[in-house]
Symmetry: C2
Subunit: 210 residues, 2 copies
């Protein structure tokens, strides 16, 4: 397998964690977003959206990080990244989507670029925007996790929701977001980071890290 990704892309990091949790080998293909390598013809011919991550598995190309992780979970079932029961699966998917649909899309690189370059938003307002969605979005995740007794987002094994949560916290820290209002989130985050699958795939450990 080949993973087209970028060290700083949190959607890429989600998939690196999932691959590591499953112990799957892959070739790391760097697509340097800050240098606009996603628009190179070589990448554009594989990626319709020019987004990362993109997984190549034999002849198949799979896009969208959550779809890639579910694909890996279906094609390499052990260890499972989703619970066995429909309600547990719904809870984990909803948690993942609380991050992937409510927080991250508002704060990715192309959106921040559009705000500053096309709409002339200044740095202060851009940072307010960023922090607003991270801090309010994580407050929702906190409420969902609070009262759960597991070490991870769902029970005592890492799964899909943890693959989404950890990269979001890296982004939050990079942009100096407030995190003292989400103690359960941070407990799960810190527990995840004790595992190699999360620690060895983090942005600073990637081959294209700067």
């Amino acid at each position: 397998m080949e993973l087209f990704n970028y060290f700083r892309s949190s959607a890429s990091y989600r998939v690196r964690i999932a691959l590591a949790l499953k112990g799957l080998d892959y070739d790391y293909r760097s697509v340097h977003l800050a240098r606009n390598e996603q628009f190179d013809p070589a990448y554009a011919s594989a990626s319709v959206s020019r987004l990362v991550p993109l997984l190549r598995d034999g002849d198949a190309l799979v896009s969208q990080s959550m779809a890639i992780i579910e694909y890996l979970d279906e094609t390499h079932p052990e260890p499972a990244l989703l619970p066995p029961d429909a309600l547990g699966r719904a809870r984990v998917r909803a948690l993942a989507q609380d991050i992937a649909c409510e927080i991250h899309p508002l704060n990715n690189l192309r959106v921040l670029r559009y705000l500053s370059k096309e709409l002339g938003m200044d740095e202060d307002n851009k940072n307010r925007w960023y922090r607003h969605w991270v801090e309010s979005g994580l407050a929702v995740v906190e409420q969902r996790l609070a009262g759960m007794s597991g070490a991870f987002c769902h029970g005592d094994t890492p799964g899909l929701a943890d693959c989404l949560l950890v990269p979001q916290i890296f982004n939050a820290q990079r942009f100096d977001c407030r995190l003292d209002h989400v103690p359960t989130v941070m407990r799960v985050f810190e527990h995840c980071m004790t595992l190699d699958a999360f620690a060895k795939t983090q942005p600073s450990a990637c081959p294209d890290a700067e």
Copy 2:
């Protein structure tokens, strides 16, 4: 089952379509977002995020539209809304996420409110912002669909991706977005609208429509 939703919420419409495709009965509970009913204590006690849709199934509460649709597909398997093969499932989920993660989050009501009320963005720039993400996002979906021969997003039966696509086109039309660059998308949309499951659940047909 009870569906907490709002006629104009496109995420709500996704779930109404899925329930209709499966022929499932439910009680329609209106949460009028424009009147801020999502902040009423009665709803806040059920919904951590104050977002719609929210499905109540017995004692269970399921949030996030894609998670709800997959939950319905697992608990009521016929007719299936996802293909049987892992690669087909990945393709359909990625298409759904092209809409749910790349287009819709940038344009929902709370985001538009934040842009105008908190950041002082004027109406013209807000409309540019809206159209930019819809038009560029649908261009990606168009490329993914072009060359496929099916009547729907994936083959000749409606599924998860169609549940996401149709409400996004309703939004695009409401905001006068350009659609002439996405002919395959529009062919699928128009075919979907010949089916009762899509037509009878559309915003204007809802009990709380204005």
